[in-house]
């Protein structure tokens, strides 16, 4: 006797008939979603197209050398062969000032966010949240001017102090005693600029810490600090990393404030207290006004490098955030 095996029916396709209004709305939001992607693609395409020539003529030297020399011959024509474009100094400068900003700004921001979420009385919290939001919307040129006129003088004192006591660490060495307009000062200005965004994001994630976990910690005899360490930090960690990356992105792309504060010099400088540095964005601003059409193409190439660097940082951030979800 043969047994018929039980028949598994084919999977059905599950569909629904959307209403007209829903189709229209779907179209509108899809358009909105795609437009940002399209704009991003167009900018990338434009930078690639404009910068391609420079990449081709300079090759790898574009990011490893620090010469920026647009040669014009006797007839006033651009000499592509003799010209050299390299952004190594600016590339490293971008990282240096951004990292200083993050190292100084993030602890302050996370501390402020913890204070606002778990310690501050209601009225102080409301007032400070408004103040910090206002700070986030502050034009960067004002930060730059303040840094130039106010922070510079006290920053000079701190720089000398750092050099005096920590000068044995290579990055705090001074080749010559010029400490004004240094990456250190620029990093401090950027730190102040990223504090609002990092504080705001961190406060948001801290405030979403599930109440039942907070209460569980307190009911076990936890002090506030122990509760924050055991419950709030594991929960908020990935969100804070996201906020820090937003801040880092802003610090890497900042133009006017760095342009105002920093003494832009074409040499790779790891001595953060020394008066020389720069970043890609401020370099583009510096050169743009008087650049020949060919030099502008080199600036576009520099812009593309900045673009890719930011992309890299954001991807790294996403990776970290996705990996450390265990606290949720």
């Amino acid at each position: 006797m043969t047994q018929t095996p039980p028949v598994t029916p084919p999977k059905r396709e599950i569909t629904t008939k959307p209403r007209f209004s829903d189709k229209v709305f779907r179209g509108v939001v899809t358009g909105g979603g795609l437009s940002s992607l399209i704009i991003l693609g167009l900018i990338l395409g434009f930078l690639l197209y404009e910068g391609y020539g420079t990449f081709k003529s300079q090759g790898f030297h574009f990011i490893t050398s620090s010469n920026w020399n647009a040669v014009v011959d006797a007839n006033g024509l651009f000499n592509a062969k003799a010209s050299t474009f390299g952004i190594a100094a600016m590339l490293i400068g971008t990282l240096v000032v951004a990292v200083i900003a993050v190292i100084v700004g993030v602890p302050i921001s996370v501390g402020a966010a913890l204070y606002l979420t778990f310690y501050a009385p209601q009225f102080i919290r409301k007032f400070m949240v408004t103040a910090i939001d206002l700070m986030a919307a502050f034009p960067s040129v004002l930060f730059g001017l303040w840094g130039f006129f106010v922070l510079e003088s006290s920053g000079e004192y701190w720089a000398k102090l750092l050099n005096k006591y920590l000068g044995w660490i290579p990055i705090f060495k001074l080749p010559t005693p010029y400490v004004q307009h240094s990456p250190f000062i620029a990093g401090l200005v950027l730190a102040i600029m990223i504090i609002p965004i990092v504080t705001s994001v961190s406060r948001e994630v801290f405030s979403q810490t599930p109440l039942d976990r907070i209460q569980a910690a307190y009911a076990l005899g936890a002090t506030r600090w122990a509760m924050i360490r055991a419950v709030a930090f594991p929960y908020a960690r990935s969100g804070i990393v996201g906020g820090v990356m937003l801040g880092l992105g802003r610090a890497m792309g900042e133009t006017v404030a760095v342009y105002t504060v920093l003494n832009i010099v074409y040499q790779v400088n790891w001595h953060i207290l020394f008066s020389a540095g720069g970043n890609i964005a401020s370099m583009i601003l510096l050169k743009f006004g008087e650049a020949s059409p060919q030099e502008i193409k080199a600036l576009m190439a520099a812009g593309l490098v900045l673009f890719l660097m930011t992309l890299l940082v954001n991807s790294a951030a996403n990776y970290i955030v996705n990996r450390s979800k265990s606290g949720r």
Binding site: Q122, P210, D212, R213, Q215, A216, A217, Y218, A219, L220, G221, A222, T223, A226, M227, A230, V231, P234, Y235, S326, G327, R328
Partner: protein, 281 residues
Amino acid sequence: METNTQPNTLSSIASKREVKTAGTQAMGVGLEARGIHAWFGQKHALANVSMDFWPGTVTALIGPSGCGKSTFLRTLNRMHEFIPGAAMAGEVLLNGEDIYAPGTDVTKIRLKVGMVFQKPNPFPSMTIAENVLAGLKLAQLKTANKDELLEECLERAGLWSEVKDRLNTHGGALSGGQQQRLCIARALAVRPQVLLMDEPCSALDPGSTLKIEETISHLSSSVTIVIVTHNMQQAARVSDYTAFFLSDGGPGQMIEAGSTNEIFARPKDQRTENYVTGRFG
């Protein structure tokens, strides 16, 4: 009336219990509430509640929603004050000392008066073992033998045999009932004198509820237990003493307290009788 001719099932459940008499155990003075009032902002939520919780007994707090029984429970280990705008009056004496006295270290109070919440809330970033021992870390307590304490607490919470092979996996993978027993084990690890339970079974299925009730019975010889419950059968099954709370639109009040047997079989107050016989609420 019909209810009088029929045997009262709740009272028959309650009468089956072996009643522990107050003060038979040498476990200190215990916990006393004296004239407790509680407010949330302008709302007077609880008025003038005085109760004694005898060592080694289980006391159930029953009453309809909004009668202030959970609020009362939370004044007993100072969890009440976490709610913005919360205020209280009266005294809570733990071993004769007022836990609201100025200069009291509140974290020490909560170590002696532990709490289990309505919704199981293990720490998701920690393993089962880390969860049980979390209190030691949070309160910076030292213990000679962590493994021994871990096993003892899980054993007392009735969870050891189910998790002993996966102590280093995350607590979130357990069922709701297991998570709640994990929370009980976690509360026991700091060796509390009193354990407050705020509707510990309301998010659980009947099988898990039964397990928790067994756990409560085992624990009651060593820990004073105060349990808030909406389930009157549970109150009848697990408690030695029962207090009935009610709000008549104003602040919640304690209407009547006594041995569980009395409250379910011969309530003195008409309102208590109406509630325990299911005529309202």
